[in-house]
């Protein structure tokens, strides 16, 4: 019983962990570069949830001060995650730019195909 209640109470964490693992799996398993980047974004987003979850206070409101309200959720995770989101999109943009260039250079966006070509160039040296 305790176990079940523990599992339920940590539901957010489970969801986070599932998303995280899913994202990580895409990054490691998928050869398609665009999909890899999407997986990376999923992975990052799930981490955001991990930050936000403990900061939520039941019965609290968004941290915009008002005389009528006493309980607020924790603003600090929000700030951190705002920054993290921006970092995430910056990385995504950079990654996509690289993919576009790789596609122009190698004619493929499949990582294993590109690496084959790279290996061939290495061998030719």
């Amino acid at each position: 019983m305790e176990l079940i209640s523990a599992i339920v109470e940590h539901y957010n964490y489970w969801a986070v962990i599932f998303l995280m693992v899913g994202g990580l799996y895409i990054v490691v398993a998928k050869s398609n570069m665009i999909k890899t980047l999407i997986g990376m974004a999923l992975f990052q987003t799930s981490v955001y949830l991990l930050y936000l979850s403990p900061g939520k206070v039941l019965g609290g409101t968004p941290p915009i001060l008002d005389k009528a309200i006493k309980t607020y959720s924790n603003p600090l995770p929000h700030v951190l995650i705002l920054t993290a989101i921006v970092v995430g999109v910056a990385t995504l943009a950079m990654g996509l730019a690289l993919i576009v260039r790789i596609n122009e250079a190698y004619g493929s966006i499949e990582e294993d195909e590109v690496i084959d070509l790279v290996d061939r160039e290495d061998a030719a040296e």
Binding site: P62, I64, L82, V86, A93, L96, A97, V100
Partner: protein
């Protein structure tokens, strides 16, 4: 081509409101959700919408690349420059207290200024990235 008309008119109607919303998000950021970053993204979105509907050349006439490329560093310059001003006034980097006679007001307006910096860089950067991708596809 004809089908575009609706889109074009809708866009023409929407874009001013989007811009207005961006300004609201920016200036009301002290009181409600939002701030420089979100406003910057929204402005960029407006221009991107314009570019999608009216063509990239039209967007480039509104927002030339040179201007965009200027905005990207400018925003960071405004932000970091504020910090330097704090230092010149004898306080640590990014301390807004000394910007005005009243430290609280200094904070209030200091936050406002740096949010403007954020807006400029984010809008510029998003557009710059968009242009980079969009123009890459052209022959």
């Amino acid at each position: 081509m004809r089908l575009d008309v609706i889109l074009r008119i809708a866009a023409k109607l929407m874009i001013p409101f989007i811009m207005l919303f961006a300004i609201y998000v920016q200036f009301h950021g002290h009181y409600s959700p939002g701030g420089g970053f979100q406003a910057g993204v929204i402005i960029a979105a407006a221009v991107i919408l314009y570019a999608i509907v009216f063509g990239i050349s039209a967007a480039l006439r509104v927002m030339p690349r040179a201007a965009v490329e200027f905005m990207v560093p400018l925003g960071v310059g405004i932000y970091a420059g504020t910090g330097i001003v704090s230092m010149l006034l004898g306080r640590p980097f990014l301390d807004y207290d000394p910007l005005l006679a009243d430290p609280v007001a200094g904070q209030y307006w200091g936050v406002f200024i740096v949010e403007v910096g954020v807006l400029v860089t984010v809008a510029g950067a998003m557009l710059a990235i968009f242009y980079a991708f969009a123009l890459r596809g052209r022959p």
